[in-house]
C-alpha cells in the first residue's frame, strides 16, 4: 500500500543541526558552552554559535521532548531575519540533511532535487530491490 505522511520536524539530532547552521552561514561549536546575552549574562547550551554582535545563539537538549531548543536573548536578536523565520529555515535545512543521510543509509540514491517557487525542496530517491 502506498502512503503519504506529513511530519512536523523537530531538531532531534546534533549532526544535521550543525550542518543546517553551517548552511545558513553560521559556525556552530559543539559541546557544553556558555551563551552570552544581556549585560554579559550567560546560560549553558549544548552547542552554540558565537556572535560578535547581539546575543549568541545556543541550542540546549531538552530530554523531555527529545529535541534541541534555541536559547538566546531575544532582546539582543541581531540576525538578518526574525527569529521565527530563522527557526523555519533552520528546520528546513535540518530536514534536508536528515532525509538525505537516512536515504543513503537505507540504500536509496538521490535521483532528483529541485526547489519550487514557494521555497519547498523536492527530493526523489530510488532504490532497486532484488
Amino acid at each position: 500500500m502506498s502512503h503519504f505522511s506529513t511530519v512536523r520536524t523537530e531538531l532531534r539530532q546534533r549532526d544535521p543541526l550543525m550542518a543546517a547552521l553551517r548552511d545558513l552561514g553560521y559556525e556552530p561549536e559543539s559541546g557544553s558552552r556558555p551563551v552570552r546575552g544581556y549585560r554579559g549574562q550567560t546560560v549553558d547550551a549544548d552547542l552554540a554559535v558565537k556572535m560578535t554582535e547581539g546575543s549568541d545563539l545556543g541550542f540546549r537538549w531538552n530530554a523531555s521532548t527529545g529535541s534541541y531548543e534555541l536559547v538566546t536573548d531575544l532582546d539582543l536578536w541581531r540576525q538578518p531575519i526574525p527569529v521565527e523565520r530563522f527557526l523555519q529555515r533552520l528546520t528546513q535545512r535540518y530536514a534536508l540533511h536528515t532525509v538525505l543521510s537516512a536515504s543513503v543509509e537505507e540504500g536509496f540514491a538521490l535521483s532528483e532535487q529541485t526547489t519550487t517557487q514557494d521555497g519547498s525542496i523536492e527530493l526523489v530517491v530510488t532504490r532497486w530491490d532484488a
Binding site: 503519504f4 506529513t6 523537530e10 532531534r12 523555519q88 530536514a95 537516512a102 537505507e106 514557494d118
Partner: protein, 67 residues
C-alpha cells in the same frame, strides 16, 4: 527487479511530506521509520490509491469557464 521510489517535499517551514510510490516494501518502511525517528512526529498518514500519481490523473484538463 522493482524500483522503489520515495518523494519528499520539504516545506519552507520545515514540515516534511513523504510519498511512497508503488507497493510499499520492507525497504520503504525501514526508511520511513528511520526518518520519523530523526525528524519527529507524524501529523498525518494516509493511504494513497495507486492511481493517485499517474499521468492520467495529472493531465486532467481544467474546466474552461464559459464566457
Amino acid at each position: 527487479m522493482p524500483q522503489r521510489t520515495l518523494r519528499f517535499r520539504i516545506r519552507p517551514d520545515g514540515r516534511v511530506e513523504e510519498r511512497v510510490e508503488g507497493v510499499e516494501g520492507e525497504a520503504c518502511l525501514g526508511l520511513t521509520e528511520r526518518l520519523e525517528a530523526a525528524l519527529g512526529s507524524v501529523e498525518r498518514r494516509e493511504a494513497t490509491s495507486e492511481a493517485y500519481g499517474t499521468q492520467a490523473a495529472q493531465t486532467q484538463p481544467l474546466p474552461v469557464e464559459q464566457l
